[in-house]
Amino acid sequence: MTATLEVRDLRTHFFTRAGIVKAVDGVSFTVERGKVLGLVGESGSGKSVTGFSIIGLVDPPGRVTGGQILFKGRDLASASEEEMRRLRGNRIAMIFQDPMMTLNPVLRVDTQMIETVQAHQKVDRETARQRARDTLGMVGIPSPDERLKSYPHQFSGGMRQRVAIAIALLHKPDLIIADEPTTALDVTIQGQILAEVQKLAAQTGTSLIWITHDLSVVAGLADDVAVMYAGRVVEDGPVSQVLDAPLHPYTVGLIGSVPSRNKRGEKLRQIPGMTPSLLSLPPGCAFQSRCARADAACRQDPDLFALREGQRARCFHPHLEAIPA
Amino acid sequence: MSDVTASGAPVAEPKVETPFRRFVSEFFASKTATLGLVVFTIIALLAILAPWIAPQNPYDLAQLDIMDGRLEPGAVGGSGITHWLGTDDQGRDMLSGIIYGLRISLLVGAGSALIACLVGASLGLLAAYAGGRTDSVIMRVVDLQLSFPTILAALMILAFLGKGILNVVIALVIVEWAYYARTVRGSALVERNKEYIEAARCLALPTRRILFGHLFPNCLPPLIVVGTMQVARAIALEATLSFLGLGVPITEPSLGLLIANGFEYMLSGKYWISFYPGIALLVTIVSINLVGDHLRDVLNPRLKK
């Protein structure tokens, strides 16, 4: 059986006046049916652009310049705009980061849901409304009939994100790309939404790409994880393996900078320096300027080496030894 | 940047990068703005040198011959002058009429803008510096003034005062001062809270000196931009008022009045009496706007990166 999504060597570049920004530069990963992939990285690592590339919504001056995006075997990188439109919101849905900004402030919630139904299916308004109401109920919005007639500003942030999730679920898609959907929410709401999404995805057999900078979210949710840095995947593998025994110094740094109860009293470690500008990346490993293990070998480009069963890292000096707890 | 050197701007070797030098080189970097400035300079020179340039003194009735009335452009009149732009119904050479009309238009436009600038800038400074009740009273009046269309306010004032160059200037000043006041107050408010004003106050400098010696120079850039645009607006408004017969007297016609005079003949195909003064007006206004538009880009620190 083909995977829901297989991304091969994806390249998305932005052609700015200052030069070419290689926001995504050779990214590959696979999402099996019903599985959750956590796409982790700092802001600017290219994880959101990867998401937008898959759904075909990269804004100019950016565009997908290479690679394949195989969605159930069909390459989306070469699909027509109309074909993409028919897939978007239907087979592939997306949830955005800031729920306060994703719903149109001047349109009622029912309008925004019904139009989504009718964009992909020839049904009358009443049927569409029915579906909208049922889906709102499904994501845990009380009295959906009344809420349908409301404007977005009458909802709280968490409720709006539930509406956005409901819109994503309207057509029971094969794949949902969630771009940091809980970052802007309170921690308690975050937990609720995570649990909700996990449940719904399991019920409908939907695959998920969960884009986040928060490793603790990935830990509880994802099956696999891919860590991105400067437009590339630097480490990937099953989530338990990567989080328990990270190989790449960057992943090690990321995990080290997560505050956790086990390390009370211990100083939080942090990654020194800043994300390098994508405009002027030095040759070789992009992480070398911030890496304690970097040496002359790192001036060469490392490949994604398969170092353990199912776990790969783009590093010449991976943490193959045990990490001090 | 090749057009910078071509236009002869003093940027040959910017050894010291003074703000003024940078301003000049940035200004002349725009071809359209340079063109606007050149055209406007020519127009201003024409207006200033009118008595020596114009083929005829259009105000001197003795030089006019009614027999030369409504001659077509290029025709030679009885006095032997070639009327390149034709003549009006009085036999007045249109070219001379336009050059002298430019004088009136520019005088009224620039004059009223200057006075309005003085009045408005002073009140705006005062509002920003004094704050409190003075500020709110002045700004209320400004808001009220700006909420009414200029043409209506000018109409009202001229209805009370009657025609005449001086009254037009008064009307334009009353209509325009509020723009300056708002601009100056805005930038003065920002400047007021800066440390150097604090320092000047601690030195117990007289208020007048703080206002005009310290605060005012820093409000100049936005004022120059507004001022340039307002000159164009004043010229257009004066032309409109004169066209409506409420502006300058018939004895010393501005461009607007020249256009109005030719209006009735235009319907019978004698287009030139209205058309050429109109073109002169158009070129004047557009050239000032080109300069002003670019000045705004150059002087606006927010747009600078």
């Binding site: 919504l57 804004d59 439109r85 028919r86 978007r88 919101g89 239907n90 997306m94 955005f96 800031d98 900004m101 994703t102 719903l103 149109n104 402030p105 001047v106 349109l107 925004q112 139009e115 989504t116 964009a119 404007y151 500003h153 009458q154 956005a164 819109i167 | 009220l144 909420s147 269309p149 043409i151 209506l152 109409l155 009202m156 004032i157 001229l158 209805a159 009370f160 005062l161 164009a232 257009a236 032309a239 409109t240 066209f243 409506l244 017969g245 409420l246 607007g256 256009i259 209006f263 235009m266 319907l267 195909g269 287009y271 058309f275 109109g278 007006l281 158009l282 206004i285 557009v286 706007n289």
Partner: protein, 324 residues
């Protein structure tokens, strides 16, 4: 909402009082009231009788009260020229002006919105740059000059459109309207376009800025992520957000459109209030001038008030804030 409404009405009332004082002082103090209010043809005896009748021997503040009292009863004096109540003359001319003003507002939306939308969606195309350059001209060219050029080209040279007057009119609701007959439509086209020039430029700029801003919003991207067609995204999601500010601004412009119709009406000999006021100023028919000024000030204040209220009704966000 009620408090907001009351406060807004009170504000408007204050402005009206302030303006009435200005007009009053303008007429009674700056000019010579005897000359202004009494026909120049009157003899000495009539003058003195009129001075007493008009209360010009009273102190200024008392005169103001009398002026207000009469104004409230709809008495703004009698026209010297027409020998009819000034108010009545103005009200007779008002429909023509309103027709022209609404016609120009309609045109400004009809022309400005599509051009602005195009310029906003394709900001780098040659056509967009031409549109924007044109809008700068629309802002800076004097209306009367453009009007003359229109007449010269379309009436004199080409002979396509009539140059002056309202043309044939038809009756609707007891008033005469030009736009109901083909001939009348031909007459209103040029003046309405002329009066609309400034607003077309305004609408183009507002729409363009709005489109460019809105296109970057997350909700537009989300709308596209939902699989909506490009047309639905632009004409529903983007358009509805732009429409509110654009309509508000155009509505706010009604007052100034009526004021600026003075110029257009004079150029095209359109028999409305604007032409009346210019004629009146030229023959010193001062009661008509005073009446015109008071009416237009009142209109202005009412329009601003109505637009403010409409705005809060149209935009759900403002509505909620007012409630809270």
């Amino acid at each position: 909402m009620t408090v907001y409404l009351l406060r807004r009405i009170l504000q408007s009332f204050m402005v009206l009082v302030a303006m009435s004082i200005i007009v009053f002082v303008g007429v009674y103090a700056v000019g010579d009231p005897v000359e202004i209010l009494i026909s120049p043809d009157a003899d000495q005896l009539e003058r003195e009788r009129a001075i007493r009748a008009l209360g010009l021997d009273l102190p200024l503040w008392e005169q103001y009260l009398v002026f207000v009292q009469r104004a409230l009863q709809g008495d703004l004096g009698r026209s010297f020229v027409f020998n009819e109540p000034a108010l009545q003359i103005i009200l007779q001319r008002m429909p023509a002006t309103l027709e022209l003003a609404f016609g120009s507002m309609f045109l400004s939306i009809l022309i400005g919105l599509p051009l602005g939308l195009y310029a906003g969606l394709k900001p780098d195309s040659v056509a967009s740059k031409t549109i924007m350059a044109g809008s700068i001209l629309g802002f800076s060219l004097p209306t009367f000059w453009v009007g003359l050029m229109l007449i010269m080209v379309f009436a004199v040279q080409l002979g396509w459109l009539p140059s002056t007057g309202r043309g044939e009119t038809a009756t609707l609701f007891g008033l005469q309207w030009s736009f109901l007959t083909a001939n009348g439509l031909a007459h209103i086209l040029m003046p309405a376009f002329n009066l609309a020039l400034f607003k077309i430029s305004l609408v183009i700029r507002l729409t363009r800025a709005g489109v460019r801003e809105t296109m970057l919003m997350d909700y537009v991207k989300f709308a596209r992520a939902k699989g909506l067609s490009q047309n639905r995204v632009i004409f529903v999601h983007v358009f509805k957000n732009i429409l509110i500010p654009v309509v508000t601004v155009v509505g706010l412009e009604l007052g100034s459109t009526i004021a600026f119709s003075v110029v257009t009406e004079s150029v095209f000999a359109w028999p409305g209030m604007g032409k009346l006021i210019i004629d009146s100023i030229n023959v010193l028919d001062r009661p008509v001038i005073v009446a015109y000024l008071m009416i237009i000030v009142l209109m202005f204040i009412v329009i601003n008030l109505v637009v403010d209220i409409l705005y809060s009704v149209l935009d759900p966000r403002v509505r909620l804030e007012a409630k809270a």
